[in-house]
């Protein structure tokens, strides 16, 4: 067994860092008394910061990206972009959690340890170009989130959500692994580069290829919660602790998207003519089902769960634009950029919305019903205005950041000449606006049942500040963010990937 090269050591450092902090938190947790549990959160936050520092080192040391561990871990700009995104999502989720866990009386160190472990899994998913590594990363992330969803031990909804998520997740992982094993059989290699080569050489209508592709896609679509593989999402989102719901809806989803892009674009791109029709169907089904379901929800968490499924539908549209255009055409580039930018703005605006809902949790109020948010303006004007900002951003109203994501998706659809899909997206954007306005109406135009002002912890203030600032800044001055995304997709010019795409 060859030892680690210095490059490999650098590449794994961000993950090792997170692992050390996760284990450290588990041990420190045994020593701190109940009222000092926030130290765990501080430790986890510190771990995320250190990890981000290591990612930054990789970024400066290997501007063209680097590959290691027998060609299984490719830390290119694409991976680095997603790593930063996961770390940002995790950091904000940690800030949101402190007071919430106190109120729920479930302040245990495992929570933060699991959060960090799931980020390690995500990093493997985004940077893996070997299906074994990707699968291990997926399972590490999934198992950590199963536990986090069921973290409220005394809450039956949380238990139910965790069990449902676990069963369906395990089932889909099984199907996913089956598809990956077929690809291994087809190519004799677990490396996506070799799989791409082997698949390109075969007849794309070969039934084995199609079965392998479809079963793999089931796993991928399950993880991004696209209809018809979405059933777990509303229940898991509703039952999970609210800060975990927020975390799952952004970071876990971004990781699933990174994995999907890695496998379908980097690995199976030769099959795009075969899988794009499936994606078209799935995206229309997702937008339709999720938007109609969201209309009637009276629970804000569940409503936002359906809304996040709907957003997956929009992002899939950009993926359709990619799949139907030639690489290096404007449709392909803008579709790709669209997905990355959408995930970026979605991270902030959706976490922000969940942060406001998290802060509604009080000793006696669960705070996730639409009635609980009624009259929020009179109880907490700042939070109500911020929530309005996040909702408008989710609805894609400029100058909030959400518009930028929507802009790129519409643009890529126009560029790839999918006018009817664009018109369908417009139609569903109206649905979206309607149910977001339902929340806004409750906050601003109805009377509150409670009169006491909302207590807001310091961590929550910081989390709200970061998410709101990002939502405004990305919306008003998107130039640096578009450049960042361009930079992360400049990947196509780096030698590793240029060689890989051949």
């Amino acid at each position: 067994v060859p030892g680690l090269s210095p490059v490999e050591y650098r590449l794994m450092l961000p993950m090792v860092e997170l692992g050390i902090f996760a284990l450290g938190i588990l041990m420190i947790d045994l020593m701190v008394p109940r009222e000092w549990k926030w130290i765990n959160a501080a430790g986890a936050f510190l771990g995320v910061l250190f990890s981000a520092l290591c990612v930054w080192q990789i970024q400066t040391l290997f501007p063209g990206g680097a590959i290691g561990f027998s060609h299984s871990l490719l830390v290119d700009r694409f991976a680095i972009y997603f790593w930063y995104l996961f770390l940002a999502g995790a950091a904000i989720a940690i800030l949101m959690s402190v007071r919430y866990l106190d109120v729920e009386n479930e302040h245990h160190g495992e929570y933060y340890a699991l959060l960090l472990l799931s980020v390690i899994g995500m990093m493997c998913m985004a940077a893996g170009i070997d299906i074994v590594l990707i699968f291990i990363g997926l399972e590490l992330m999934a198992i950590s989130t199963y536990v986090l969803v069921g973290f409220l031990r005394r809450d039956r909804r949380s238990n139910e959500a965790a069990l449902k998520y676990l069963l369906l997740g395990a089932f889909s992982s099984g199907i996913f692994a089956y598809g990956l094993s077929l690809f291994y059989g087809l190519s004799g290699s677990t490396n996506l580069t070799n799989i791409a080569r082997a698949v390109a050489a075969r007849n794309p209508h070969d039934p084995v290829v199609i079965i392998a592709m479809l079963t793999t896609m089931v796993g991928l679509l399950f993880k991004i919660a696209a209809i018809p593989f979405h059933q777990w999402a509303p229940d898991a989102y509703e039952g999970a602790p609210t800060c975990i719901t927020g975390f799952m809806s952004v970071a876990v989803k971004a990781a699933a998207w990174a994995m999907l892009l890695r496998i379908l674009v980097f690995g199976l791109f030769p099959l795009r003519a075969t899988y794009t029709p499936v994606i078209v169907f799935v995206s229309i089904a997702t937008m339709t089902g999720a938007n109609f379901a969201a209309l009637t929800q009276s629970n804000t968490k569940r409503l936002l769960a359906y809304s996040s499924i709907a957003h997956v539908g929009y992002m899939l549209l950009a993926f359709v634009a990619m799949g139907t255009s030639e690489p290096n055409s404007p449709g392909f580039a803008d579709g790709f950029k669209g997905i990355l930018i959408y995930l970026l703005v979605y991270t902030f605006m959706n976490l922000g919305a969940f942060a406001v809902i998290t802060s509604l949790r009080n000793r006696n109020v669960i705070g996730d019903e639409l009635d609980d948010i009624a009259g929020l303006y009179s109880r907490a004007p700042v939070e109500a205005v911020l929530m309005l900002l996040f909702l408008l951003s989710l609805a894609g109203i400029p100058p909030a950041a959400g518009f930028l994501g929507k802009y790129y998706i519409f643009l890529s659809l126009i560029e790839s000449q999918h006018y009817w899909l664009a018109a369908a997206a417009v139609f569903y954007a109206l649905f979206g606006l309607y149910y977001y306005l339902k929340i806004a109406n409750a906050m601003f135009m109805r009377e509150s049942m409670e009169t006491e002002r909302l207590p807001i912890s310091l961590g929550m203030r910081v989390a709200l500040g970061i998410t709101a600032l990002a939502t405004i800044v990305i919306g008003v001055y998107p130039e640096p963010f578009i450049r960042t995304v361009n930079w992360s997709l400049g990947i196509a010019q780096t030698p590793h990937v240029a060689a890989m795409l051949k």
């Binding site: 109203i397 400029p398 518009f403 306005l437 135009m445 001055y477 998107p478």
Partner: protein
Amino acid sequence: MQSHILSIILFTPLVGALVLLFVPKENKDAIRWIANIFALGGFLISIPLVPMFWALRFEITPTHFKFLEGSANNWIPSIGAGYNLGIDGISFLLIMLTTLLGWVSILSSWTAIENRVKEYYVWFLVLQTGMLGVFMALDFFLFFVFWEAMLVPMYLLIGIWGGPRKLYAAIKFFLYTLLGSVMMLLGILFLYFHHHTVTGVFTFSIPELYKTAPQIPFHAAIWLFLAFFLGFAIKVPMFPFHTWLPDAHVEAPTAGSVILAGVLLKMGTYGFVRFSLPFFPQVLSSTATFLSVTARGWMIGISLVGIIYGALVSLMQKDMKKLVAYSSVSHLGFCTLGIFALNPAGLSGSVLQQINHGISTGALFLIVGILYERRHTREIAEYGGISNVMPVYATITMIMFLSSMGLPLLNGFVGEFTILQGTFTENWKWAAWAAPGVVLAAAYLLWLYQRVFFGTVTNPKNEKLHDLTPREVLTFVPLVIMAFWIGLYPKPFFQILEQPVNQIVQTVRPGYPIPGYPNAYPTVNAQTAPIAAPAQPEVTSMTAPAGRAAKPAHAARAPKPKGTF
């Protein structure tokens, strides 16, 4: 040299909103004073624009826009969007209308708004910036940001300070407008991508996109026209898309209605003039038909239906505000009719009528609001003999009613007459169908006046009504002055409109004879009467935008001596 006057006008209200954020919300009078100072300031700052623009009114600039600010790429270079402002005569008049009505409506809210005062003024000032931005933007991306961002404050104004069905009205308003504007976004993105296909450059700059418009294939242009049409027709609103308007107007607070009718609706007609006409002339001039009517025929047709339908529905209303709301549908029908007459008289009449409608209907909503504030009902049947208790109010109301119905010597007449004249030269039948709208307007307004103001006070609750306060009179003063000015001496307005209107007509109908540019007022100028019906230009001829480059009669003309303004 770049003058920053447009940016200053644009952001003054927003600065006011930011200042208000720092005033404690218990201090209602301070908030009112600050909001009014910024609103009046916003109006006063726009006044210097008048002589500046007047001096340049006939000047031909390369882009046909003046007071250019920013550049095409300085905001988001990656996608080719810029903070790029500029105005021509059409946007100049609408900007002046916006700053004036913004001040008037903020002044009128002094006593009408009692709860959540601070928010109210903050949102109102934000709204003001959004509307001004729409009229100034020369960049499609910037335009769209203002166009959509402005929906949010309006939604909150209706939804928080509105009447009993405010939630329904606010959501309906927002959803309806969003449907149109996102369809328009698809159209914008198509133009953007089309420009890239032709020139290899991604840009949202409107003057740049004008240049590649002739190369749009006809079958695409039809769909694009429809996408833009949906965006603007919902905003105007034209006949089948008008159903949000009565709800929004009835539920909105008075000042919200004034701004909604006075300025927001004009954004739709402005969009037609600025985008639909110059970008898709081939659609409007094509002989291709849908249900055996051409595209232009459809536009004219639904304008006419809107005129008659709006007027008939107004006649039936029991609620004063709803009556005024439906009268807007009718009046805006005249505006779109003038636009799609596609000749200088129709187009300049239409823009002037947009200003007139802003003044008269804005005043009508203020008038209804004043009674509502005193009695908290708008039922016509609740009133009667009001002129006995509120004589000043009754006089002002009479003036504004006459202005709205188009009595000569007042502004409405000039606009409607010019529109009808322009329409008549195209097809006398169109004008004949529109004319009953004027008669019906007189009917519903005079009948309303008779029921509310004449006779003896029948309802004892009305006996104690006090007449207008000085502040309320002040809100009407500028509107009455403007109504008389446009009615008596519209020449400066037509001069301001002349250059952009002729330029648009030449773009849409290259070779359309625009005879000698009579001084200002085509309707009284006998020379203009015989305008030969121009031949329908063929679609193929559109590829050479002759009309855009050459300005035959116009360019040769020396600027006129300054008139009194």
